[in-house]
C-alpha cells in the first residue's frame, strides 16, 4: 500500500499557496452574520457591568418612558429608550443576555449529558431498557413542557434553578432520541465486535468506543438547540414563571411593555427583536455546524 502511493506521481502544488487558499476558503464559508451577532451577545453578557451604560435595575421616574434616541423626544443617554420605571432598555438587554446565556449553557449541559448517556445506554443495551427509556422519551415529547415548567414554578418557586430544570426536562428527551439512533447505526460495526471479543466491558465500549463517534452529532445537537432554549426561557419569563424580577430577562421585558404598546412601543418591541435576532443567529450557526459535521441530521 505504502509502495503504491509513492509510485503515483502527484503534481505537488506549492503548499503555502494551497494552504492560504484553503484558509481563505474556510473563512468565506463561515456564517459571518450569525457569528457576529452571537459574539456581540456573548461579549455583552460577559462584560455586562463594563458595557452597560446604566444600571439595569436603577429606577428613575423622572426619565420614565423615554423613547429611543432616534425618535422625537429621545435622548442620547437612553439610546433604546427607557421603560415604565425609567430603567434603561439597552442596559437591561445587556444584562438580560446574561440570563439567557446562563440558562442556555447550564440547561444544554445538563440536558445534553443526561440525554446523551441515556441514549447511549438505550441504544447499546437494547431490549427492555431500551423500551423503557424510549417510552419515557415519547411521554416527555408528547406532553407540552410549558405545563411542567409552570408546575415547577408554582411548586419550587420561581428562579434560575427552576427554569434550568424545566428546560432540561425538554432537552434530555431530544438528545436521548438522537443519540440512540446514532448508537444503533454504530453498534453493528466490526470494531465494536472486535472490542467485545477483546473482552471490553459494555461500559467501556459505550464510553470509549461509541461515544467519540457520537460526538459530532452531539455538538451539532447542542448548537441547534441554543435557540430553542433561549425561546423557552423567554416564554416562561413572559408568562411570569421564569426569572423573577428585578433580574432583567428578555421575555419579562416584553411582558413589562405589554400594557403600554399604544404609547411606548419600544418597551416590548425592542427586546422581541433582540430575541428573534439571536435565535435566528444561533439556528443558522447550528445549521452550518450540521452541514459541516453531520449532514445526515438534516431531517431534524
Amino acid at each position: 500500500m505504502a509502495e503504491g502511493r509513492t509510485n503515483i506521481s502527484v503534481p505537488a502544488p506549492p503548499e503555502t499557496v494551497e494552504r492560504r487558499w484553503q484558509l481563505k476558503y474556510e473563512l468565506k464559508q463561515l456564517p459571518w452574520i450569525p457569528l457576529i451577532i452571537i459574539l456581540i451577545m456573548v461579549f455583552a453578557a460577559v462584560l455586562a457591568p463594563i458595557v452597560a451604560p446604566h444600571s439595569p435595575t436603577k429606577q428613575s421616574l423622572r426619565d420614565k418612558l423615554r423613547p429611543p434616541a432616534w425618535q422625537e423626544g429621545g435622548q442620547a443617554q437612553y439610546i433604546l429608550g427607557s421603560d415604565i420605571l425609567g430603567r434603561d432598555i439597552l442596559s437591561r438587554l445587556i444584562y438580560g443576555a446574561r440570563v439567557s446565556l446562563i440558562v442556555a449553557f447550564t440547561a444544554l449541559l445538563a440536558g445534553g449529558a443526561i440525554g446523551g448517556v441515556l441514549g447511549l445506554v438505550s441504544g447499546y443495551a437494547g431490549g427492555k431498557v431500551d423500551t423503557l427509556i424510549m417510552r419515557a422519551v415519547d411521554a416527555t415529547l408528547a406532553f407540552p413542557t410549558i405545563l411542567f415548567a409552570l408546575l415547577l414554578a408554582v411548586t419550587m418557586g420561581q428562579g434560575l434553578v427552576t427554569v434550568v430544570l424545566a428546560v432540561t426536562l425538554i432537552l434530555w428527551a431530544r438528545f436521548a432520541r438522537v443519540t440512540r439512533g446514532e448508537v444503533l447505526s454504530l453498534k453493528d460495526n466490526d470494531y465494536i465486535a472486535l472490542a467485545r471479543v477483546h473482552g471490553c466491558s459494555g461500559v467501556r465500549i459505550m464510553f470509549v468506543h461509541i461515544m467519540p463517534n457520537v460526538f459530532n452529532t452531539f455538538m451539532v445537537m447542542l448548537t441547534l438547540h441554543v435557540g430553542l432554549v433561549i425561546l423557552t426561557e423567554a416564554s416562561l419569563s413572559f408568562l411570569g414563571a421564569g426569572i423573577p424580577p428585578p433580574t432583567p430577562s428578555w421575555g419579562q421585558m416584553v411582558a413589562d411593555g405589554r400594557a403600554k404598546v399604544a404609547t411606548a412601543w419600544w418597551i416590548s418591541i425592542i427586546p422581541g427583536v433582540a430575541i428573534t435576532m439571536v435565535v435566528i443567529a444561533f439556528n443558522l450557526f447550528g445549521d452550518w455546524m450540521r452541514d459541516r459535521l453531520d449532514p445526515k441530521l438534516r431531517q431534524l
Binding site: F143, P144, F148, L150, M156, S235, A241, A262
Partner: protein, 305 residues
C-alpha cells in the same frame, strides 16, 4: 385492529398515570402542599380547612389513592381562588378556547400547505427561498411577541381590530392569527420535505408520463401522500396548540383554559393548576389516540408492527 386499539389505550392510560404521579410527587417533594395552596394572607383556620379537605394529614400512599380515585371520578379538588370544583372551571372555560380552534387551524393550514407545496414544486426559486425565510423567522420569533406586534399594527396603528377580550367576530382575528403562527413554520417545513420525497417517486413520474396535467399531479397525486407525515405528527401540533393557547390567551385576555392556567400560576392556585394540567394531558392523549387509530385504520401497515 382491536388488539392495536387496546394496546394504544393501555399505553395512554399508563402515560396518564405517570403524569398524575409526577404532579402528585412534585406537590409533595417541596414540602406540605398546603403551603402552596393557602394564599399568603390566609388565616390558620383556612389552612387547616385545606389540609383537612385534601387529607394531607394522612400517610402518602393513602393520599395517592385518594388523589387517583378522585381524579378518575373527575374530582380534582376545589380551586382556592374560585372556591369551586377545579374540573368544573376547566370545562366552563374550555369552549372559549375551542372557539379559537377552527379559525386558527384554517389560517395555519391555509398558509402552510400551499406554501409548502409551491416551495417543493418550485424548489430553489425565489418562492422556495421566501418559504425558507418564513420558516427561519417563524421558528425564531417568540409568539407572544408576534401577538404584541399584531396588537401594535392592527389595534394601535391601523386601529381596525380590538386588542383583546372576547366579543364579536373581529375579536377572533388577532388571537386566531397568533395561535395559527404556532404551527405554520413546522407544518410548512414538513409538507415541503415530504412533497420533495413524493415528487421523486415512480408513480408521480408515471402520472407525468401519462400526461396528467402538472397541477393535478402536484395538488392531487402528490399532496395526498405528502400529507401523511403531517397527520402522523398531528399529536405534536395538538401539544403545540395547548402551549399556544396559554400564550395567546394571556396576551389577549381571552377567558379560555390557557388564561385559566396562567391565572392558577399567578395566584398559586395549586389544585386548579393540577386539574388543568391533568385534563390537558387527557385531551392531548385522547386526540393522539384518536389520530393513531384513524391512521392505523387508513394505513394497514401500522397495525402489524
Amino acid at each position: 385492529m382491536q388488539k392495536y386499539i387496546f394496546n394504544r389505550l393501555l399505553q395512554g392510560i399508563v402515560l396518564l398515570f405517570i403524569v398524575a404521579l409526577i404532579v402528585f410527587a412534585l406537590a409533595r417533594a417541596t414540602g406540605n402542599p398546603a403551603d402552596l395552596m393557602v394564599p399568603e394572607d390566609a388565616t390558620e383556620e383556612e389552612r387547616q380547612f385545606i389540609e383537612r379537605n385534601l387529607g394531607l394529614d394522612r400517610p402518602y400512599h393513602v393520599q395517592l389513592f385518594v388523589f387517583l380515585t378522585g381524579a378518575i371520578r373527575g374530582d380534582f379538588g376545589d380551586s382556592i381562588v374560585y372556591r369551586k370544583p377545579a374540573a368544573e372551571l376547566f370545562f366552563e372555560r374550555l369552549p372559549n378556547t375551542l372557539k379559537l380552534l377552527p379559525l386558527s387551524m384554517f389560517i395555519a393550514v391555509g398558509v402552510a400547505i400551499p406554501l409548502g407545496v409551491v416551495a417543493a414544486v418550485k424548489r430553489g426559486t425565489w418562492i422556495d427561498q421566501l418559504a425558507g425565510g418564513i420558516a427561519v423567522f417563524g421558528v425564531a420569533t417568540p409568539n407572544f411577541w408576534i401577538a404584541i406586534v399584531g396588537i401594535y399594527i392592527f389595534s394601535v396603528w391601523l386601529d381596525v381590530l380590538p386588542p383583546g377580550r372576547m366579543g364579536g367576530p373581529s375579536h377572533y382575528i388577532l388571537p386566531a392569527l397568533t395561535l395559527g403562527t404556532f404551527s405554520i413554520a413546522g407544518m410548512m417545513r414538513l409538507i415541503r420535505s415530504s412533497m420533495l420525497e413524493v415528487l421523486d417517486t415512480e408513480y408521480v413520474k408515471l402520472a407525468r408520463i401519462k400526461g396528467v396535467q402538472e397541477w393535478k399531479v402536484f395538488w392531487k397525486h402528490c399532496l395526498r401522500n405528502a400529507l401523511i407525515p403531517v397527520l402522523t405528527l398531528f399529536g405534536v401540533f395538538v401539544g403545540g396548540f395547548v402551549t399556544g393557547a396559554i400564550v395567546t390567551e394571556t396576551v389577549f385576555a381571552w377567558p379560555g383554559i390557557g388564561r385559566l392556567t396562567i391565572d392558577a400560576v399567578a395566584q398559586r392556585d395549586f389544585p386548579l393548576l393540577q386539574a388543568v394540567i391533568l385534563l390537558d394531558a387527557v385531551i392531548i392523549l385522547a386526540v393522539n389516540l384518536a389520530v393513531d387509530i384513524l391512521y392505523a385504520y387508513v394505513n394497514p401497515r401500522i397495525r402489524y408492527n
